[in-house]
């Protein structure tokens, strides 16, 4: 393979300077537009009820209030288009969770909003709230959602589990629970809409998927897509939290702007953001796993219930991904999996880094460790004997022809962490501070997979200017994850190794860039990257022809490297050829579509080629548990990730470190509490606890490259994976330390102590 000039190097992020110096403009920083109005959401005070009347007269008379917009004012459809199309923009007849938007107050200044919101009287006849998925699943339960309370039941039926278990020497069972996780991105949701003179609408905001927002705004206003321009402003973190949620609130803001004919902005406080936006699904699962005495897995069953909240939103996809990932990265001949996404009277759960997988990885990896205990086998060895390797077949019946770096991640992680020595040391720790070490191995299906087949394609365009500088456009977004850097490097490499300083990404606007599909599922690097690579090669071929003429050799013999066209000792700079192409009217722009390779899925058997490729990882956590206080300290964390090809190694390491921090929060402290009346009790960072720098151990990122031939320069997506195994690895380490099984995330000190004491903790 050709040596790479730019890909594989840790170049500086093009967006870093503006962000650290404060020059980057987030939506709420945008210069005030003339006549700008402010929006405040009228929220449901109860988790379930029938709306009997909405009294707005007093609120309308508040000085500065311009309008109060309700569901019946919607000119188009009261709908956010997404999978089941069950998600409404403004509640009209019924409210389904506390905090659900009922209307919007629009005012000249934010001060009037608070006063007016207090004066809106919503007359609601309360209905009994169903806050637990188990209650909602009962056959006689009231229907929360017109579709019924079970949104999905995804299955895997592989082999024959009964005979599988009959073959097993050891069978282990376990029940596991995980809680909510809040995205806690830096920038709360902020959106602005402004009507255009041609009866259209412009929308600005921090978001992952501008084309989703475009579709929602067009639906709500009842206008054509080409009348809606959505501009992604600098986005201060998302983690999945800005995948679907901005669509609903953009619909509301656009509606307000449509009626008033003026620009309207909505910016959430942290508290409003936490009560109004999506979370990671809480989960309840029951696992059963059987193995032969040598550790070889022969059967696995899993039942998982995911608490989806009041609308399906992304839950059909989240629960499907959970299904595919349910049994880990192992060869298991007999499998039965049942995953349910269930409606409750709570804010809709949605996308969150890992998308339904951290829950099932926790359960599967815990039960694997229990199996290792029963077998008296080193848990890493148990995994080594079962993990998927090149040529193996997954539990969904998919053969893996390439890019399976799992074995290497396991090996590297074991070596770098000195696993055996530390495991032995942990066993010998005495006193009140108990050491423990635990591992998790897991995979991640890159991209949307068979469930998202319809939208899994990416368009992109590249334009070389007359001076040799380059502009590229994609519809995927930079939200802090580093996509702009990675795509800049891919473009620079694909144009012959030119300096990345010559390359600029176009600001994402639905009117100026192509739809590359959503920026989710760790798909931007390989989907947008591939589309760009194709576009670049088209341009480069034309430039190569011109260079060949200049160098007096056939185009095919021109070597392009280091930003230069070469023939023997003669060489011409990329910029010079660009200039010549421009003068000779050679087209210097290209547009390309990359279509995801085929996937398949049989809904009855759960068999098929679920994803085009998988990323793999091994996590190892070393902890110390204070058995008197129950406090867990993570001492060290090793994370080995097969990313195909690290386009920018420093960004890969940054992703690993950031994901591990988020995973430590998920494992040990993040606990979102819902009161009996359905309200979130801790919607702020004083009471919803995320880790600080003092809570973070030394993290050792380990990069493994098992190239994906279809990916740009061998790369495959991996951005979500660093979080995914943390809960499992830490729970296994804690279980190892205290000699008792951990069955619930987060692992709070009170829970650990309760395991030691007779007194048990009341239900959280």
């Amino acid at each position: 393979m050709k040596e790479l000039d730019i890909v594989g190097k840790s170049i500086d992020r093009p967006d870093a300077r503006a962000k650290v110096s404060g020059r980057a403009l987030y939506c709420d920083d945008l210069p005030s537009v003339s006549g700008l109005l402010y929006a405040g959401i009228i929220k449901s005070p109860v988790p379930a009820g029938r709306i009997k009347g909405i009294h707005i007269e007093d609120a309308l008379s508040v000085d500065g209030v311009v309008d109060i917009v309700l569901a019946h004012h919607i000119p188009g459809k009261n709908l956010v288009p997404l999978i089941f199309d069950d998600w409404i923009v403004l509640a009209d007849k019924e409210v389904r969770y506390a905090g659900e938007p009922i209307g919007v107050v629009v005012a000249e200044h934010p001060r009037a909003l608070d006063i007016a919101l207090n004066k809106v009287k919503v007359d609601i006849e309360p209905l009994p709230a169903l806050l637990s998925p188990f209650d909602a699943m009962k056959p006689d339960a009231r229907k929360i959602n017109p579709r019924g309370n079970i949104f999905n039941h995804h299955k895997i039926r592989r082999g024959d589990v009964e005979s599988g278990f009959a073959e097993a020497d050891i069978v282990v069972e376990g029940e596991y629970q995980t809680g909510y996780q809040e995205h806690a991105y830096l920038e709360p949701l902020s959106l602005m809409a402004k009507p255009t003179p041609d009866q259209g609408m412009q929308v600005w905001g921090g978001m992952q998927c501008p084309f989703y927002v475009q579709s929602a705004v067009a639906t709500v206003l009842g206008i054509a897509l080409n009348k809606v321009e959505v501009i992604q402003t600098t986005t201060g973190g998302a983690f999945g939290g800005k995948e679907d949620v901005p669509s609903r609130f953009a619909g509301i803001v656009a509606l307000a702007a449509w009626r008033s004919g003026r620009a309207v902005r909505l910016t959430f406080s942290r508290e409003e953001d936490i009560v109004s936006t999506s979370k990671r699904h809480p989960s309840f699962s029951r696992y059963r796993i059987g193995a032969r005495r040598d550790g070889r897995l022969v059967a696995c069953t899993a039942e998982v219930i995911m608490d989806a909240g009041a609308y399906a939103t992304l839950s059909p996809s989240v629960s499907w991904r959970a299904t595919v990932h349910c049994c880990g990265p192992y060869r298991i001949p007999n499998v039965r999996v049942d995953v349910y996404a269930v409606a409750t009277n709570k804010v809709p759960a949605g996308a969150f880094r890992g998308f339904g997988t951290p829950q099932v990885i926790f359960a599967m990896e815990r039960v694997m460790d229990e199996l290792a205990n029963q077998l008296k086998m080193d848990p890493l060895e148990l995994r080594r004997r079962n993990i998927l390797r090149r040529g193996d077949t997954t539990v969904t019946g998919q053969r893996l022809p390439w890019s399976v770096g799992l074995g290497r991640t396991l090996q590297e992680c074991a070596k770098k962490s000195n696993w055996k020595k530390r495991r032995k040391a942990a066993e010998q720790s005495t006193g009140t501070k108990k050491r423990g070490i635990g591992c998790a191995t897991f995979l991640y299906g890159v991209g949307l997979g068979a469930a998202g087949r319809k939208i899994d394609r990416a368009e992109a365009s590249v334009q070389v200017e007359g001076d040799g500088s380059v502009r590229f456009s994609v519809g995927t977004t930079e939200m802090g994850q580093g996509m702009e850097s990675v795509l800049t490097q891919i473009v620079a490499e694909a144009l012959g190794g030119i300096s990345p300083g010559l390359v600029t990404m176009t600001e994402v606007s639905t009117s100026r860039v192509q739809d590359s599909g959503p920026t989710v599922a760790s798909r931007a690097t390989y989907m947008s990257g591939n589309a760009l690579r194709i576009a670049c090669s088209q341009i480069l071929n034309r430039m190569r022809a011109v260079a060949g003429e200049r160098l007096h050799i056939p185009a095919s013999r021109v070597v392009v490297t280091g930003g230069r066209f070469k023939a023997g000792t003669e060489e011409i700079d990329f910029r010079e050829i660009a200039c010549e192409c421009f003068e000779r009217h050679v087209p210097l722009s290209a547009r390309a579509l990359y279509d995801s390779p085929p996937t398949s899925w049989d809904a009855e058997t759960g068999q098929g080629k679920a994803y085009v490729v998988y990323s793999y990882a091994t996590h190892i956590a070393e902890v110390e548990v204070d058995t008197e206080t129950g406090i867990v300290s993570v001492l060290r964390f090793w994370a080995a990730h097969d990313v195909g090809k690290a386009v920018n190694p420093q960004l890969v390491e940054g992703q690993i470190e950031g994901g591990v921090v988020q995973g430590i929060g998920y494992a040990l402290m993040e606990s979102l509490l819902t009161a009996n009346d359905g309200h979130i009790l801790n919607p702020d960072f004083e009471t919803y606890i995320i880790p600080t720098s003092k809570d973070i151990p030394e993290i050792y990122p380990i990069i493994v490259e098992s190239p994906y031939p279809e990916g740009p320069f061998g790369a495959k997506g991996f951005g979500e994976t660093p979080l995914m195994g943390c809960g499992a690895a830490i729970a296994n380490a804690v279980s190892n330390a205290i000699g008792r099984p951990i069955t619930r995330l987060p692992i709070l000190p009170e829970d650990i102590l309760a395991l030691f004491k007779i007194c048990s903790a009341p239900n959280r």
Partner: protein, 298 residues
């Protein structure tokens, strides 16, 4: 609902007398606007934002030079109320005379909070989890309060244990300003200990905390003072435990076991969003044990 800053009258005096005159004027006003002093604002501003307090007047006291500083006069230490925690943590006087206070103040919030938040604010906010309060209890602190009476400044001094009357409640009345906290330099042979348990390692409110000051000679406890945070409506002294322990041998494990039982019986913790009553009660015993182990090891 948010309380707008525009609804609040704002003053920024440069002397204690001026601050007292401003507040006095509003306290005698028939409309009785609620006056709040603003120092670091790390409690007040979130409280205003959350609508827990709605002051009509804010008197910012950060420009009052005489409200800031740490001094030692003979065996008396004086910390002015407007002194931020980072100055306390860095104070050579306090590092030498009251490491237990320095240790506790160094665990409050994070760097940014400690740069702004003041010891006076921590006292006046009167949270049972205020981390500077347990050490001030065991140091036998006294609080200096100024007010105006018939146009003249009056200063009074009250023992810290009389200052708090409930969660978030003190004896301070309208027009009164906490100006300083003082305490006698502890016996140089005594040793202190502070430990808090929070939900994480920084930027965290104590689920339970302990401060302990004891003089131990040849393993015998001459005297011991123990204060606990976040296990009662105010910070409390564990007096039964103290009197049980005084005169006892600190190396005797039975003694420690008994003291651990006694301390659990003197607290009245609650379940809340941060933890459970049972956990807090258990932790009082664990923290006591750790404190005793720490002070005896010298």
């Amino acid at each position: 609902m948010h309380h707008s800053i525009r609804d609040i009258d704002y003053y920024k005096p440069t002397s204690i007398d001026e601050a007292l005159q401003i507040t006095h004027q509003f306290c005698t006003d028939p409309q009785q606007k609620d006056v709040k002093f603003l120092a670091g604002g790390t409690d007040l501003i979130p409280n205003i934002k959350d609508g827990n307090v709605r002051p009509g007047v804010i008197v910012e006291i950060t420009d009052i030079g005489e409200l800031r500083g740490i001094t030692q006069e003979n065996d008396q230490i004086l910390i002015k109320a407007g002194t931020p925690f980072d100055e306390i943590v860095d104070s050579p006087i306090l590092q030498k005379t009251a490491p237990v206070l320095v240790n506790a103040c160094g665990q409050i919030g994070g760097v940014q909070i400690r740069n702004r938040a003041t010891i006076g604010g921590n006292l006046v906010n009167a949270s049972p989890s205020g981390d500077s309060i347990p050490p001030l209890f065991v140091l036998k602190s006294r609080l200096h309060i100024a007010s105006l009476s018939d146009g003249k400044r009056v200063d009074k001094i009250v023992p810290i244990e009389e200052f708090f009357i409930g969660a978030g409640k003190t004896i301070l009345r309208g027009g009164e300003l906490l100006t300083a906290v003082s305490f006698p330099v502890p016996d140089p042979q005594s040793k202190g200990f502070f430990m808090k348990l929070g939900q994480r390692r920084a930027m965290t409110i104590s689920k339970v905390s302990i401060a302990l000051l004891a003089k131990i000679s040849d393993s015998q406890i001459d005297w011991i003072r123990i204060a606990l945070g976040a296990v009662a409506p105010t910070v409390i002294r564990a007096r039964n435990t103290e009197s049980f322990l005084s005169g006892k041998n600190v190396d005797d494990s039975d003694t420690i076991q008994q003291a651990m039982e006694i301390i659990k019986s003197e607290v009245s913790p609650i379940d809340d969003i941060r933890s459970y009553a049972w956990y807090r009660r258990e932790m009082c015993a664990v923290l006591l044990k750790r404190g005793l182990l720490s002070v005896k090891s010298g």
